[in-house]
């Protein structure tokens, strides 16, 4: 089952997000963020450029144009 984070950005760590160790039972009225697990690392120069050494944490922001105020 492919359950990677939908926003794909190469090079992507071959890691399944559903394998991240979460608590077995989650409770109401609590916020949960899974632990990151080390897979692969960018080179220092790539990491400086990306803002992180972890490919799975890369979330690039693309500036969109402004169409009738919907450029968000």
């Amino acid at each position: 089952m492919d359950c990677r984070y939908p926003r794909h950005y190469p090079p992507r760590a071959p890691y399944m997000y559903c394998d991240y160790p979460m608590r077995k039972e989650v409770e109401l009225a609590e916020a949960y963020i899974p632990y990151q697990q080390y897979t692969i690392s960018f080179s220092p120069m790539e990491a400086l450029h990306a803002g992180t050494m972890f490919p799975e944490l890369v979330r690039p922001y693309e500036k969109k144009g402004c169409e009738g105020g919907k450029g968000r």
């Binding site: 608590r23 609590e30 916020a31 949960y32 963020i33 899974p34 632990y35 990151q36 400086l48 990306a50 803002g51 992180t52 972890f54 944490l57 890369v58 979330r59 690039p60 922001y61 500036k63 450029g71």
Partner: protein, 190 residues
């Protein structure tokens, strides 16, 4: 204590002064979701964290925010450097110029000076960590707004770097929240 490295965490080389962009960006220097507020928030909250991992993460991220404070300061400085009063007036920066000339002062773009009222140090680790998670999201959103306002690649490039760091910090605070919660639960059953 700290050890200072005489270089920016990410290079800033802005060739063209742009006082209007300086007015927008300065909020990340001394504004409510800015880097100074973030740094002081984490460096103050770290004392009452219950586990060493949480103290460590707040210490490290609070330190990195100081490096970001320096990056944003360099951006404002370079954007204001060489801008003449006429350009500053055109950019609607006249009120800032009257008080500060071309200098870098921690305030919002509309001139509200920095205040510790932007941050909280609640003494409740869960409450504080939720504030920290929210702070990272607010800073990310601010950087996205600034990227939308910018058209100079020299300006956009460091903004993109700073935005990505907010995402990484959010992940780290989320992991700390889990660790703190597990620690507090383990104490409950003793």
């Amino acid at each position: 204590m700290w050890v200072y490295e005489k270089k920016l965490q990410y290079p800033v080389r802005i060739k063209n002064p742009n006082p209007k962009m300086a007015k927008y960006i300065i909020t990340q220097y001394g504004g409510p979701d800015g880097e100074l507020a973030a740094s002081l928030r984490y460096l103050s909250q770290r004392y009452h964290m219950p586990i060493p991992e949480a103290k460590g993460v707040l210490n490290d991220i609070g330190t990195e925010e100081l490096a970001h404070f320096e990056i944003v300061g360099a951006m404002v400085y370079q954007l204001m450097k060489g801008a003449c009063p006429e350009e500053i007036k055109m950019a609607d920066m006249g009120t800032y110029y009257a008080d500060h000339d071309n200098a870098v002062y921690p305030s919002t773009g509309t001139g509200v000076p920095f205040t510790a009222a932007y941050i909280q140090s609640k003494g409740d680790p869960i409450a504080d960590l939720h504030e920290d998670l929210a702070a990272e999201q607010k800073a990310r959103a601010t950087y996205e707004n600034l990227i939308k306002l910018a058209d100079d690649p020299d300006v956009i490039d460091p903004l993109r770097f700073l935005r990505e760091r907010e995402i990484v910090h959010f992940q780290r605070f989320g992991e700390v929240l889990q660790k703190v919660r597990e620690y507090m639960e383990s104490k409950k059953y003793f």
